[in-house]
Amino acid sequence: MNEEYLWDKSGEPDPEIKQLEEILGTLRYQPKPLDLSDEVQPRSRNRYLPLMAIAATLLIAFIAGALWLRVRNKTSPQLHKAGIESPQPKQVVPHVDNEKPKDVVVANKDGRDATPPRIKEIKHPRTLPASNMTASERQQALEAKEQLMMALRLTSEKLNLAHRKAQGASPNQIRNQHKVG
């Protein structure tokens, strides 16, 4: 037996070795594309998966944001009222008036009523044809209007106060004043 053949394939090979080579040679690596049957084909990945993941993330974030806003709005004070609280509350005798109702009680320090409150008598909710508002909506609107007028008056007053002070103040009193735009 020529053992050199087993080392470096030199010399005459042994017939058994040669036969083994021929048998096993069929299993030698052949460079060709992998051919897999349909049964063993891997499942193709859903190419929309990334988009779905992003969409789901956005949806969750949107829902979370909406919930947060809802909770925030519920917890924030919704004081749809305006009033002057006096340390000496005075009993107010409302009288019924069908004109412009005012349920905002305003009293000065000395207990005098600045504006006598008038309460509109509402028997049944009804739709007002002129404004398409129900009586309760109209009542709410009147309250809002009262608040609005009070807020605007205060704002206007303070703006004018700032204006007057800025005009009358010495230069070192005005720390910062510049135009907008």
Partner: protein
């Protein structure tokens, strides 16, 4: 590896949404006033106005278009998203603290807010006017008036015409509700 990529991309998207929400919230020209409610107990007179956009729209329906004054107010409030006022008048001085004023002032910082006027007087207190700008448009107004016996904060959210607003006082029949009864005026109103 791809799973990691998807997780990272999802996280980035969520982060963007959160940052956008936070940025939007930060640019909201509404200032928080609720923490001042405790002053109502000390105050002799309190004005608390909270009108959101829905109520403004509701109230605007009651303003007549035929009446010139009311039409002006209607035009002025049209588009506003909220009006919030807190005003406390005290019998004595030093009823509110500088921390109360600072808590408001800290919300009125740049770049969201720009200070238009700041008049400071040791005797008469301070008056500060701030506007929130979106480009050249005014999208919010805040007035902080801290006098020895009075603290007033006005916050208007939405497009505000300052000149028209300032002209309202005494011109449009806005009723004097006795918020400031006759008292010795020490202010420099000249």
């Amino acid at each position: 590896m791809k799973l990691l990529f998807h997780a990272i991309s999802g996280f980035i998207c969520a982060l963007l949404v959160i940052m956008t929400t936070i940025t939007t919230y930060a640019q909201d020209p509404r200032i928080r006033l609720a923490h001042l409610d405790y002053l109502a107990k000390k105050a002799s007179e309190t004005v608390d106005v909270n009108i959101d956009e829905r109520l403004i729209q509701l109230a605007a329906k009651l303003f007549s278009d035929k009446d010139e004054d009311e039409a002006q107010i209607k035009k002025l409030v049209n588009g506003l998203k909220g009006i919030y006022v807190k005003s406390f008048e005290f019998d004595n001085e030093n009823e509110y603290s500088s921390a109360d004023v600072d808590s408001i002032r800290s919300q009125l910082r740049e770049p969201a807010w720009s200070r238009l006027v700041n008049v400071t007087s040791k005797r008469e207190g301070i008056v500060e006017v701030y506007v929130a700008l979106n480009g050249a448009d005014v999208v919010g107004l805040a007035v902080l008036s801290a006098e020895p016996k009075e603290l007033t904060i006005v916050n208007i959210v939405g497009p505000v015409d300052l000149q028209k607003l300032a002209k309202l006082e005494g011109n449009l029949g806005i009723p004097d509700l006795g918020i400031q009864p006759n008292k010795p005026k020490t202010k420099n109103e000249q």
